[in-house]
Point group: D2
Chain length 284, copies 4
């Protein structure tokens, strides 16, 4: 993304005639130049969505007011993001390092448009990785007598740091209903299985037992029901009877980090729209 | 496969020391030359398997007797197949033509070592394809008053034609328990979904509803429980929110035929071993 | 594609401010509804392109005149296609049947929006396939004393049948410069190698010699220089040292047909723009 | 690989009758147990190869002598490796970090059976990564007045450290003929293009210009001729006209690291045989 003051405008509404023309005329009136436009309308749901990448808008405020007040379209929802405003991302980890490394390497290389104010874990062993990338590591251990307390501290920490996006990078703890519901569409998890197959624990063991010839990984937004959230991205790789469970795990890890990092990038670039229980991911 | 008199020898037993040496010495004593050997032992199940492609065995009968009588190994099972003896394959179809075309095109090209004495269906519309490839087409309509009768006729027809392998090429009818159980490991089905996800009817509709980003197809041996048979082969392809259900179906059809034909080839080349609820597929 | 009178409008011009807004306003004035819009602008070439799928245009003639006369944009080129007007496609073949089968199966299934008035070959052996699909087969043998004459007859036949698109479905003859130049962007070839590697004859043999671990197939528009035309689509598949040249050929054939059919579909759906020596393929 | 004293035995010779039986009988005589055996014979070259993973050999010395002295087979070559003896690997880098990170992460996780006594570079910027993984980093700058001197120091350093395998992890310098020839089959390079297409510098730029729809990466043994060495592993990924050169580079980097790490693992596990200008890679 550019360092100039550009904007991403996303629109979601009931499919109706004339939306593209109305919106692009509004932009033209404000001097805006369209760098990129993608739209999609869907017969099954009757929905229309559009994502525009624009520059040179003379007054963003005026545009926003016109979109809000003058729209002739039903159920018209829109979101405007400045590409200058970097999102603040928190990463939650347990003990697996591969996904964490990938997120940090890619963010350092400028490929993930965000800042990472903190990494949080109930375990200490990934702290050296956080240190290497100069990111504050917060160790929040679980008190067996009062396990809920850790989540409260976590919640406070995330709020204090004004976190926009939480990434569960192989974070092996179940979060409470309240924690999840207040962050719908703001929390991405990587599941090391090809959802909806092999939900829950030990997906590679399940896959081995079933004798599948392909394994996968799935990045999704977290919802209350375990592993049922809207899928953002998936990838698969072939295995044979020669793959032991351990080799499935090793093979799958390369998938997991790729899938998670790509899903996070799509979110940070405002390319994902939540449409019911599904996602529309533009330019993927 | 060659037109010379070569043999495929498959062995499955508890993993023990010295099996490879004992078997290959036996072959050497009979003048046999090993063209290809693949073996695998598995820690999880404690099983050992080996597939040998051999030529120039002086006496197959002697070899067979020695394998049977002299084996020092526990649970020693073996199968010998002559590459000269073509299997007899029946194809069962409903109305979908793509998989059928592929099987017939590849068999005609000499890529599937089998004869196809008959194609059977409860519908008439694929008869012209059978005619084009000069294969007898048997139309066995369903009598709504006595639907079981069709399966009985089918059963008799398959027995009369001494069928070794039945391929369900998008055959959209449920077969009875008895029919299935008497043909375990001898009947291959193609499921147009990525098992174990999306079992049963309309897998593409299920996949669309769940919002998956990858769809798949699965070839498996038929067992009593629907879509629970040992998986032989799978393939996947990426989809996006742009794919309507119709486009998922169109995209998936190219997978289905590829997966089914490859699974059938593996079976005909004696490269599949049934190991519990899983398959070991050699040289895939 | 729908059977209603819808239109595809493609635009290619120097990237300038306000194109989307100007075009969509013009469409709105004519009552048009945008079913689908995709645009792309490229920094490297400074070009902008847009493809619109529209319905309900009150006067196509007026729209066309306004686009032609009133455009304020430099180098503004556009093309309008009615989805009702099926293109006429000719297929040229030699002896390989797989690609031909695939094109005919998919066209019969309604997946390729075209008519196929004729199949032409210098060999007779694929005639039964043409017959099976009820398509006229023209046998134009090569006279060794006057090999150029065949191309003249072919040229006349294609003109007489008002052919819009020529598909070289493993047509193993070199066409003359004149024949090619008069049909730039109107003739698609499938190369059974991963261009630009392995140009020319026997690409699988070349691939085997070089010891590659992946083979591919490439569909491209034919230009004067052999195998140098703009690439439309490619696909690859892994091979190992176990693949003999014959097995590479067998494995590759499944790629070739898939790649060719998808490239032909993209062309028939007006999704390809020729941009210099490259193609932009929308919604691929 | 196990921590027990197991051995890998690789054999390469002219294809002849009875090799498997002779070798496995020899192993049986020494009490050896075959954990894994893969063999391959090739009609095109007339060669036979076998890789055995064995345990419990009573006298390795006796086995070695018998293989050397008693072999009845022509051109019989063999190599024996103990799985206890870790190879010593050196990594040469310039400024790209992704491949380096991947090698170090996977080695730390125990997935690459080797020690890494040193990382060498003519640039200093990757030193923090070496430090993070506690591996000595040797900075050997280029003296513009005497550029050959750096290679001499490098050569001495590698010899002093008794290096078994050199990995060029995006090392952007050409090595001298002498340096290369003395290390044939002992030096692996990653080329960020799909060889044999796009040899030499800036393969992504070349790929963009040619308008390919798929890009790739290639790991190969280094030979005197640039980018002509025997290919060990390759992978590809689809791109579209939407990919700028920068996005091709970003997309390709994920391929490069995967391909390089897998090639290095195959080498360290003694799964690669050099057969003329090609490689046979077992169990890939």
């Amino acid at each position: 993304m550019s360092s100039k003051n550009e904007h991403i405008l996303c629109i979601l509404c009931k499919d109706q005639k004339g939306i593209v023309s109305w919106v692009t005329s509004l932009l033209a009136k404000q001097g805006g130049n369209i760098l990129d436009l993608e739209q999609h309308s869907e017969e099954e749901s009757g929905l229309f969505a559009m994502r525009l990448h624009v520059e040179d808008i003379s007054s963003m405020k005026t545009l926003e007011q016109e979109l809000k007040r003058k729209t002739p379209f039903q159920d018209f929802r829109f979101w405007i993001h400045s590409t200058l405003q970097k999102q603040r991302m928190a990463i939650l980890v347990s003990t697996e390092s591969l996904c964490l490394y990938d997120l940090l390497i890619k963010q350092t290389a400028g490929e993930l448009p965000c800042s990472i104010p903190l990494i949080v874990s109930h375990r200490e062993n990934l702290k050296p990785i956080a240190d290497h990338f100069s990111i504050p590591f917060h160790y929040l251990p679980i008190d067996p007598k009062n396990p809920q307390q850790q989540e409260k501290k976590l919640d406070a920490l995330l709020k204090k740091n004004q976190i926009d996006l939480i990434v569960l990078s192989r974070y092996m703890r179940i979060l409470s209903k309240d924690f999840v519901i207040s962050r719908l569409g703001k929390m991405i998890n990587i599941h090391h299985g090809f959802l909806p197959a092999f939900k829950g624990a030990k997906p590679y063991h399940q896959a081995w037992e079933r004798g599948v010839k392909i394994i996968g990984a799935t990045a999704h937004y977290v919802v209350e029901e375990l592993d049922e959230g809207p899928i953002i991205h998936q990838a698969t790789v072939e295995v044979t009877h020669r793959h032991s469970i351990q080799e499935m795990i090793r093979t799958g890890q390369d998938l997991e980090r790729k899938v998670l990092t790509q899903a996070v990038r799509a979110h940070l670039e405002h390319r994902i729209l939540l449409v019911g229980k599904r996602t529309w991911v533009f330019h993927f």
